[in-house]
């Protein structure tokens, strides 16, 4: 065996190293040094992100089971940045008395889900894809049920693991039928055996239903609201950004690589699902009062927009998708950072609690407002450009009616995003949330989100760089 191949797994190996170091730190360093645990975690993650900033060259290991290419590396870097921001935002929650004893577990579990996503993204075979997917979703369930003395968290954990395992069962059934009709599990060899016979279409439907659960597209979205509400807020933000972004990217990769011969069938299926996802999620988001539940429906509708890049199937679609994930990450983490710090300091997550927030906490309100504007897609912010690129990519493949429906829905989504802004700036309140100082970690993370929201749209080289690396049908 040629051990030089292992160098293509550089990113995975360094992530495992970070994980092991943190585990050892958690085990052996007690007393005074333990105070620096969070700092160590953030620094290690930042170093890991920085040394892999440069995209990896094309390469494969384990006989084509593992593939690495520049665009995959870019996606991994985006996930790293998101995880780093979540680590900083989680500090407040983890320092509480009830969770401080097990805070090491949070980091190790989060990193192992990240490792699973790495393998899922880099897979060249359905076996590695499945192992990566499960490595991502099993620790995720443990994270959702992390506050184990809270009923809500335990309930959310049960709902998450049962629907995740059910979804992977459906997906496995689809994969088994694909194996039965083509005789191979390698992404490279499968397209030659796909001729669009009814059994393969059924296999694809099962596979897609499984992925639909992970991404929470509309007919499969029923677990989302409960899990997002019950899980600890930092875990919710991880679920809504990192887990969703990686799953959408992998779905696009597999549709383009493996199911290219039946492109007409899957575009038709996606067409209906996108329309359903965007409109139903928007309608349900309007009537939510709990902000975490609200963000759950908002993230479902954002998943619908992400699928616009998938349906295009072109290189332009892929670059728009990756760029959208990047922008969505910064805007969503900005919103979740504010929700999380307010929940920690005052225990309030309902929309009427935010009435008059601008008078007491003006800076937090402004961060929240700008992030919400970016999510809604208002022009100077990055969200506008990401929506523009993704609509362009879908329109470029001739889906004009779909883009029109999505545009109408954008206006609808603006309404409910502005409801929060109205609550913070206009509604009056006798007893608004008291003024508080946020800690430095949260501040740095919110500033990073703000910079992302403001700068990503204006500096075009990031999109240019991504679009050079993307591939399509």
């Amino acid at each position: 065996m040629d051990f030089g191949n292992l160098l293509y797994l550089k990113e995975e190996i360094s992530l495992i190293l970070v994980m092991v170091l943190l585990l050892l730190f958690d085990l052996f360093c007690t007393g005074k040094i333990r105070r620096y645990f969070q700092l160590t975690a953030c620094v290690l993650m930042a170093v890991h992100t920085l040394i892999h900033l440069d995209p990896m060259p094309d390469g494969q290991a384990f006989g084509g089971m593992y593939i690495n290419s520049p665009i995959l590396s870019v996606v991994k870097t985006i996930l790293n940045v998101g995880t780093l921001i979540i680590f900083m935002q989680a500090r407040n929650w983890l320092s509480r008395e009830s969770t401080s004893i097990k805070r090491g577990e949070f980091y190790v579990l989060t990193l192992s889900t990240l490792l699973g996503m790495y393998f899922m993204i880099s897979s060249g075979n359905f076996l590695l894809f499945f192992i990566g997917l499960e490595t991502a979703s099993v620790p995720m369930a443990a994270l959702v049920a992390f506050d184990k003395y809270k009923h809500n968290s335990a309930e959310a954990g049960a709902k998450y693991i049962l629907s995740a395992v059910f979804a992977s069962g459906l997906m496995l059934y689809g994969i088994s039928l694909i194996y039965g009709t083509t005789g191979t599990l390698y992404f490279e060899d499968i397209p030659a055996g796909i001729d669009g016979c009814p059994l393969q279409i059924m296999a694809f439907v099962f596979f897609f239903a499984g992925m639909g659960f992970k991404i929470s597209l509309v007919p499969f979205h029923l677990w989302t609201a409960d899990v997002y509400e019950g899980a600890p807020t930092s875990v919710t933000s991880y679920l809504s950004v990192i887990s969703k972004g990686s799953a959408v990217f992998v779905l696009m990769m597999i549709l383009v690589k493996v199911f290219a011969p039946i492109v007409e069938q899957w575009q038709m299926m996606l067409y209906g699902l996108i329309v359903l996802t965007i409109s139903i999620a928007n309608l349900f988001a309007i009537r939510q009062q709990n902000l975490k539940r609200f963000m759950a429906f908002s993230s479902i509708s954002q998943a619908g927009y992400l699928m616009l890049g998938v349906i295009a199937g072109s290189a332009q679609g892929m670059s728009a998708l990756v760029y959208y994930v990047l922008v969505y990450l910064f805007s969503n983490l900005g919103v979740f950072g504010v929700i999380s710090i307010i929940e920690q300091r005052s225990g309030k997550v309902r929309m009427e609690d935010y009435n008059g927030l601008y008078r007491t906490n003006p800076r937090l309100s402004i961060v929240m407002m700008l992030s919400l504007f970016s999510l809604a897609g208002i022009p100077p912010f990055a969200g506008f450009f990401s929506k523009f690129f993704i609509f362009m990519s879908a329109a470029g493949e001739g889906f004009y009616l779909l883009v029109l429906l999505a545009l109408v829905n954008t206006i609808l989504s603006l309404y409910y995003y502005l409801l929060i802004v109205k609550a913070m700036f206009i509604n009056s309140n006798e007893s608004p949330i008291a003024t508080f100082r946020s800690d430095n970690y949260t501040r740095v993370s919110l500033i990073a989100c703000l910079l992302g929201v403001l700068a990503l749209g204006i500096f075009s080289m990031i999109y240019d760089r991504i679009s050079l690396l993307a591939f399509g049908l």
Partner: protein, 102 residues
């Protein structure tokens, strides 16, 4: 020799029985058992396809082995979470898990 179709009939019945149980059962453990049915039917599928259609290779058998291992891990985590729910509310009926329903 038994034909491939007989095995596939068994696995298909198991798969859809699992889906039915997942939606119909009202006890978390029973739901977990239904999911196990789904996963095991997939294992049968892989092994049978490999044995009858592609006897020269081992991909299907390997997938079966990994699927068994991973489903064991999933079950372990799921049972841990269910035990935690039992400790919290002394009950594992689905109808009691409705605190977040609006």
């Amino acid at each position: 020799m038994i034909h491939m179709e007989y095995y596939l009939v068994v696995s298909t019945i198991m798969f859809f029985a699992g889906i039915f149980g997942f939606f119909y059962r009202r006890n978390l453990l029973a739901i977990l058992i239904s999911i196990e049915l789904i996963l095991n039917s997939v294992d049968i599928n892989f092994a049978v396809f490999n044995r009858y259609l592609f006897p020269g290779q081992l991909e299907g058998f390997f997938f079966t082995l990994f699927a068994i291992g991973i489903s064991a891990a999933e079950t372990a985590v799921a049972i841990a979470i269910i035990i935690n729910i039992y400790r919290n509310i002394r009950n594992i009926q689905v109808s009691k898990l409705d605190k977040m329903k609006h």
